[in-house]
């Protein structure tokens, strides 16, 4: 009897590509398309001068018209190519996965084949049948493998041909105008049905879901600003729309900077845009401590000229559309959009801590600079609640928007730091927020409407307070019989006080200062700290793992007392190094 060893498996061809880089290509083309679309809108609209008469006027209006028509066609064409490239990036990702799988499969098959080769000379005659069966079985698997390699090569080739055709069919202006001149923009009809903001995020979500993928992509290219900050639009879509807007801003403002033509407000605008770009890059540069994969970044809010130039920005570490647990960090005094990298660093630390302490759960943490916090010329606002009240409404809207994009019921935990805890507490008392827990860090008070933790609407056992005993800001809240709110001052009760009724957790820093100071006010998100450990456990819903601290109290005789001052701070591992 003769047994034939199977032929070796086919070689897997090298695949050199980077789908993430193709997505950057897509964003650049989409941003340019949006800019060209604006020209198409400008010509028949604002560019018209009806009050101007005479020969010059006639000539002007006649000559601008074809430019508008050309811009419309070019915008549609460039958008088409960018969409095709986006589909190509998705296809490439699939090919990369298949390719990597084939490489592993081939290594296994080669190993098994070598093993049979080594056994072959030593097989006794009575085992030849079994050996032959093993060879046949391996041969069948190698044949199936070879078929898959051929399919990869064929499918990749077909996909490459489609992408090349998209480039070559719309390369000249003649090609563009033949195909798109006079073609209506699908974005126009889709946007005409967009519900007003007053309809609420659920209506927006319903509208968005009713659109075809082509209509949705058209809006991204024609009017990214109309959906980038619209509650009810999925986070991944908002991210793309806002990234398009960010790329446009950077390209335009950096050109003006090169020409030394930036106005004062444009300089602020550019500062905020660059800060946003840095914050996103910081997230992209981080890897998840459990999976080793890059952390997903999302630009959830991008309005860099809001609040007289202070700007309004929210950057997410994680996937807001899919994560199990969501945290929204609201910063406080002295913050604006230019500080978003620092706020995002805090969000990244919390993201990493939640993953290390809950590897089976996924997390998204929002660095939410979504309100006008006291800073710069309006710094005196830190002593009053008005800016917190304005911010509270925006925070509540953001939470409503997040709930609207999720069909499941993720855990949502607003985390307010410093004056941001006043904003968060006011949002809780003044608005109906569908969340699971509240965390108040270094709080000067959660607002006058919160006399007790139960006023925050989630039950006092779901209100958590981190108050470093050396944090001077955390001592500003009312204690005992003191109630500055009666004279329209202060930001409410000290939520770490026993009478407030919240859970106080340990939040001392190992390098805390000797006396009360401002430095300890900024240590709540530091890695390996008691504070970050406990906040992460709360976000994960691991209440039993939270280390509680004794409340502050105000005895009848003597001043307010904080038992935490006498306790030695501990350390934890929130980075997964141990």
């Amino acid at each position: 009897m003769t047994v034939t060893l199977p032929a070796p498996p086919a070689t897997v061809p090298t695949l050199t590509c980077d789908p993430a880089s193709v997505e950057l290509f897509v964003t650049d083309l989409l941003s340019a398309s949006a800019q060209i679309d604006d020209l198409g809108t400008f010509v028949p609209g604002t560019a018209q001068i009806p009050a101007w008469t005479g020969d010059d006027s006639v000539t002007y209006h006649q000559e601008i018209k074809p430019l508008g028509t050309r811009a419309d066609a070019m915008s549609l064409a460039l958008r088409h190519v960018s969409r095709r490239a986006s589909q190509h990036a998705t296809a490439l990702q699939g090919f990369v996965t298949t390719h990597d799988d084939l490489v592993l499969r081939r290594a296994t098959l080669v190993s098994e084949l070598n093993s049979l080769r080594l056994q072959a000379p030593m097989i006794p005659p009575e085992q030849l049948d079994d050996f032959g069966a093993d060879c046949t079985q391996l041969g069948n698997r190698i044949a199936a493998f070879d078929t898959d390699v051929t399919a990869l090569v064929t499918d990749l080739g077909a996909e490459e041909d489609e992408m090349v055709a998209a480039f070559t069919r719309l390369q000249t202006l003649d090609q563009v105008e033949k195909r798109y001149s006079g073609v209506p923009d699908p974005a126009d009809a889709a946007l005409a049905d967009k519900p007003p903001t007053s309809a609420g995020p659920a209506a927006v979500r319903e509208w968005w879901d009713s659109l075809t993928p082509a209509e949705q992509y058209a809006i991204l290219g024609a009017s990214p600003g109309s959906i980038g900050n619209l509650d009810g639009i999925p986070a991944s879509v908002r991210d793309r729309a806002n990234t398009v807007a960010l790329e446009r801003d950077l390209a335009m403002l950096e050109l003006l900077e090169e020409r030394d033509q930036l106005t004062g407000s444009e300089k602020e605008h550019l500062t905020n845009a660059r800060a946003t770009e840095k914050a996103l890059a910081d997230v992209d540069d981080h890897v998840d401590p459990i999976t080793g994969e890059p952390v997903t970044s999302q630009l959830y809010i991008y309005d860099p000229t809001a609040f007289n130039g202070d700007g309004r920005v929210a950057v997410v570490a994680g996937d807001l559309d899919a994560a199990d647990n969501l945290a929204v960090i609201t910063p406080g005094f002295s913050n604006d959009a230019s500080k978003i990298p620092g706020i995002t660093d805090n969000a990244l630390n919390l993201y990493e801590a939640t993953r290390v302490l809950g590897p089976d759960q996924t997390t998204a943490v929002v660095a939410w600079m979504g309100y006008d916090a006291p800073d710069g010329w309006d710094s005196p606002g830190v002593a009053f609640e008005q800016m917190a009240e304005n911010g509270a409404e925006r925070l509540a809207d953001t939470i409503d928007g997040i709930n609207a994009i999720r069909d499941d019921d993720p855990r949502i935990v607003p985390v307010g730091h410093s004056y941001g805890s006043t904003t968060t507490g006011t949002a809780a008392t003044d608005h109906d927020m569908d969340v699971d827990d509240f965390v108040l860090l270094g709080s000067p008070g959660p607002g006058d409407s919160a006399e007790h933790a139960s006023d925050l609407g989630v039950g006092s056992d779901h209100v958590w307070v981190g108050s470093n005993s050396k944090d001077i800001v955390a001592d500003l809240g009312d204690m005992g019989w003191v109630n500055k709110g009666n004279v329209e001052l202060g930001l409410g009760r000290d939520p770490a006080e026993d009478d407030f009724g919240a859970n106080r957790f340990r939040a001392e820093a190992t390098d805390r200062g000797m006396g009360d100071n401002f430095g300890d006010h900024s240590k709540y998100f530091e890695h390996n700290s008691e504070s970050l450990y406990n906040v992460a456990q709360i976000v994960n819903g691991h209440y039993d793992e939270v280390s509680s601290a004794d409340h502050k109290y105000d005895p009848l005789f003597g001043g307010p007392t904080d038992p935490e001052k006498d306790r030695d701070p501990g350390t934890t591992d929130t980075e997964g190094h141990n």
């Binding site: 950057l24 083309l29 400008f42 101007w52 992408m163 090349v164 790329e247």
Partner: protein, 105 residues
């Protein structure tokens, strides 16, 4: 009241801004990264971007042309209208048009 409305001056500035926006859009196209594509696709992407950079720059140039054209209309009116020159200190419309004769960007 000048012979041409002040909106002509405003539009000149807006066309200048269109020029800036479109020039930057052209840069986005020119600088779009092609390194993520396979070699076969990259070979087609590169000439596409080169061609489109020129198309977008063409729009930017046209926009600048309209801005300049409007400024020429304003300048012609200014140079031929003595009454307008005399009204420069007290007619806000004339002030707007006079200011628009200088290209800001």
């Amino acid at each position: 009241m000048p012979a041409i409305p002040p909106e002509v001056g405003t539009r000149a500035g807006q066309w200048d801004q269109q020029n800036v926006d479109l020039t930057s859009a052209g840069s986005l196209v020119a600088d779009a990264p092609t390194t993520g594509f396979t070699q076969t696709v990259r070979a087609a992407a590169t000439p596409f971007l080169t061609a489109w950079h020129a198309h977008v720059q063409g729009l930017a140039t046209d926009a600048e042309g309209f801005a300049d054209g409007l400024r020429v209309s304003i300048t012609n009116w200014w140079e031929s209208d003595l009454a307008a020159q005399n009204a420069l200190t007290h007619d806000p419309d004339v002030v707007t048009l006079y200011a628009a004769m200088d290209e800001r960007r």
